[in-house]
């Protein structure tokens, strides 16, 4: 994909407004992207601090630091905050910043709704997190909030949890609609669909997934609300309903949600690896089709989360085979990334380090997923730390490393300065070591039978848990280094050229660094 450097030298009537109200009232995609990213990072630290509480309690067997009731609130809120507060908003932030720059659009298609999407999130999370301080405590039923734990036996705060999920859902749906409208309608002339950077493609597909499944989540929590407050019996067998119905509805949302959290990372990595291997992406077209296949399959695999609940044999078999099929398009992607690196003249700046670690470690998470997909084996693995190890391997070095890679890759474009490469490499290595120390031993304790979501454990798991906790503390503390690097980069540093990376491709590198407040007011010509 080549691009002509023509970004319209029109003088813009208005730059950013001054003061706090700039951020409250803004309709600018860069402002909104920045707010999403900062919000996401704040939630990352908050959810991370809850993980630290969990790991501190699990440092040794026995109960030392927190009560089991509070431990349950920590596991629940850690999951909710990381999924809905940290990972998803980070990708929306990247989408806001980069999609208009990548396709040569002046802004997002519906700029005011864009602002609305963002501000709903602090409202939702403010309400959700405040329940921790309420009588009866915050949500304590796990981030998957299975009924009847979340209905019959739930604390009062579940009502606010339900409404918080509604607000997050509305925010996500509006954000996704904006992304779809932007990509389908605001591409510069000549930017055909098959010329779009993969980040744009993966986001288009992610947005479709969001619009398809967030309403199902809304329906799910609405049924909970009605069961709790208005006497319906959706999830109560005493009235002819079924608690398992909850799991079906939830995972019909929940499984595509997993891909919502990883597809944009696939897209970003597909830009970063070619840039630092100095070779075009291998198999662009197959990447697009693989992403679409993963999205399609994500709708027909949900019951692999429910193998032990007692679904009929036909169901077990169907969902087992369908799940394994996902390995095919995912394998296509992994091989394409590796082939892109093959015989490239590679350098390993921070974005590339994170991207390469992404490919390797995400693949480990993918393989443990394949193990979990085997229904009879899952009877053994279900609800153990093996599952925790699996999804942390796809989410931490998957989604989060994808976000770090993107942040370092585009920080020069956002701030106009180069970040401190030495510190960034330190951030990478500390994160890499900490994360593997934290999550790799979980495979072992899980296979040996340690159950998840329990504040205490058998003595034989003590050593591995101590290692996990040390790794988690390392990973957690390291993220303050990231904060420092970003602030340092914003405040100064070597000025960044328009295109700071030799091998980088795309329209975003045709505008100056930092990107002006308004870009592509008249669309560029893409050849």
């Amino acid at each position: 994909m080549s691009a002509v450097i023509d970004h319209g030298h029109t003088d813009h009537a208005h730059g950013p407004a001054k003061g706090l109200m700039r951020w409250v009232l803004t309709t600018n995609h860069k402002d909104i992207g920045t707010m999403y990213l900062w919000f996401s990072f704040a939630m990352f630290l908050l959810g991370g601090s809850m993980a630290m509480v969990i790991r501190a309690e699990l440092f040794q067997p026995g109960l030392q630091i927190v009560q089991p009731e509070f431990f349950n609130q920590m596991t629940t809120m850690h999951g909710l905050i990381m999924v809905f507060g940290a990972v998803m908003p980070a990708f929306v932030g990247l989408a806001n910043w980069m999609i208009p720059l990548m396709i040569g659009a002046p802004d997002m298609a519906l700029p005011r709704m864009n602002n609305f999407s963002f501000w709903l999130l602090p409202a939702a999370f403010g309400m959700l997190v405040s329940t921790l301080f309420s009588e009866g405590g915050g949500p304590n039923f796990g981030w998957t909030f299975y009924a009847p734990l979340s209905t019959t036996y739930a604390p009062e705060s579940v009502t606010f949890f339900i409404f918080a999920v509604h607000l997050m859902g509305i925010s996500s749906i509006m954000g996704a609609i904006n992304v779809v409208a932007t990509i389908l309608n605001l591409r510069a002339p000549g930017m055909t669909l098959m010329k779009m950077p993969l980040f744009v493609w993966t986001w288009l597909i992610t947005a479709f997934l969001l619009i398809a499944v967030m309403p199902v989540l809304a329906g799910c929590v609405t049924m909970m609300l009605m069961d709790i407050h208005f006497g319906t019996s959706f999830f109560s067998a005493a009235g002819g309903g079924d608690p398992v119905l909850f799991q079906h509805v939830f995972w019909f949302f929940g499984h595509p949600e997993v891909y919502i959290m990883i597809l944009p990372a696939f897209g970003a990595v597909s830009s970063i690896i070619p840039a630092f291997a100095r070779k075009p992406l291998f198999g662009y077209t197959s990447m697009v089709y693989a992403t679409a296949s993963i999205a399609f399959l994500s709708f027909i695999v949900w019951a692999h989360h429910m193998f032990t609940v007692g679904i009929p044999l036909t169901g077990e078999l169907f969902f087992m085979y369908a799940t394994m099929l996902i390995a095919v398009p995912t394998g296509v992607k992994v091989f394409n990334w590796v082939s892109t690196m093959w015989q490239g003249s590679m350098t390993f700046e921070a974005p590339m380090l994170f991207a390469v670690a992404f490919v390797i470690l995400f693949t480990i998470g993918g393989f443990s997923g394949l193990m979990l997909a085997i229904a009879p084996a899952d009877f053994q693995y279900h609800d153990t730390y093996f599952v925790v190890a699996h999804f942390h391997y796809v989410l931490v070095p998957g989604a989060i490393f994808g976000i770090f890679a993107s942040a370092y890759y585009w920080l020069p474009k956002w701030t106009g300065h180069m970040y401190d490469e030495t510190l960034a490499k330190l951030h990478f290595w500390m994160s890499f070591i900490g994360m593997n120390l934290a999550f790799f031993p979980m495979h072992f304790v899980g296979l040996a039978g340690m159950p998840r979501r329990i504040p205490d454990y058998n003595l034989q798991f003590a050593d591995f848990n101590m290692v996990s906790s040390v790794g988690a503390f390392t990973f957690g503390a390291t993220q303050f280094l990231f904060l420092f690097i970003v602030i340092k980069c914003i405040r100064g540093g070597k000025p960044a050229p328009a295109k700071p990376w030799d091998g980088a491709e795309g329209l975003e590198w045709t505008v100056p660094s930092p990107a002006p407040y308004h870009t592509f007011s008249t669309p560029p010509d893409v050849k």
């Binding site: 208005h14 609609i177 079924d242």
Partner: protein, 295 residues
Amino acid sequence: MSTHEQYYVPAQSKWPIIATLGMLFSVYGLGTWFNDLKADRAESNGPLIFFIGGLFLAYMLFGWFGNVIRESRGGLYSAQMDRSFRWGMSWFIFSEVMFFAAFFGALFYVRTFAGPWLGGEGAKGIAEMLWPNFDYTWPLLNTPDPKLYPAPKGIIDPWHLPLINTILLVTSSFTVTFAHHALKKNHRTALKAWLALTVLLGASFLVLQVEEYVHAYTELGLTLGSGIYGATFFMLTGFHGAHVTLGAIILTVMLIRVLKGHFTADQHFGFEAASWYWHFVDVVWLGLFVFVYVL
């Protein structure tokens, strides 16, 4: 891609943050209210907070839509902007379809799997041991635990009110299309008549729906709490009714705009979006009529 003019990027706007505050107050008030009701607390400030949130939302709706209408009539919107609105509305309707799909899915799951299993059928018949005397039938005129969930005495006969409602709503889908054709041919009088008739048909539908609910609650004992039949029945028809109400309000706004002389034969996406929405509630109703009332 067609040629691009300057795409209209609005300046700062206060409406999103007002909308956010309105939503936050509304749901926080509602949550407080629900919790206080459930815990039998005599005093609750929930309704007040909810009301304040409602005021914010009402102010926002008038202000934001008013703003968009002024911009549109001020000629700020290009053909490209029009397409953004079209994509936005289509995907919004798709999200609504998925919302209803969750409830339809629940209904199908209960009828195909959970219900028969609870009655003792198949490999999962072990569930029968919980309530050995429970026989599964659909419509569910007995529940496993009648003390917790008293079963309804009867269900709504599809061939009376629901059939009339089907006719009303399908007819209204035609009348709104006639109104659209009149608008495109610039027959303003016909447009006004057909649109007014559509609103009237929608309102009649709602009146009959209320009558049906009263009948269900007072005579049939069919309530939200009467087991899974009542739960799915009222949630599906209730959310549909809420959407018809919203659709009727939107069409009324369109009627007022038509009376004020808004919309031209080739620029009237506001009207079109309203009619798309109306067709959508009509299609959902057909699904309801077949799967909730008849089958």
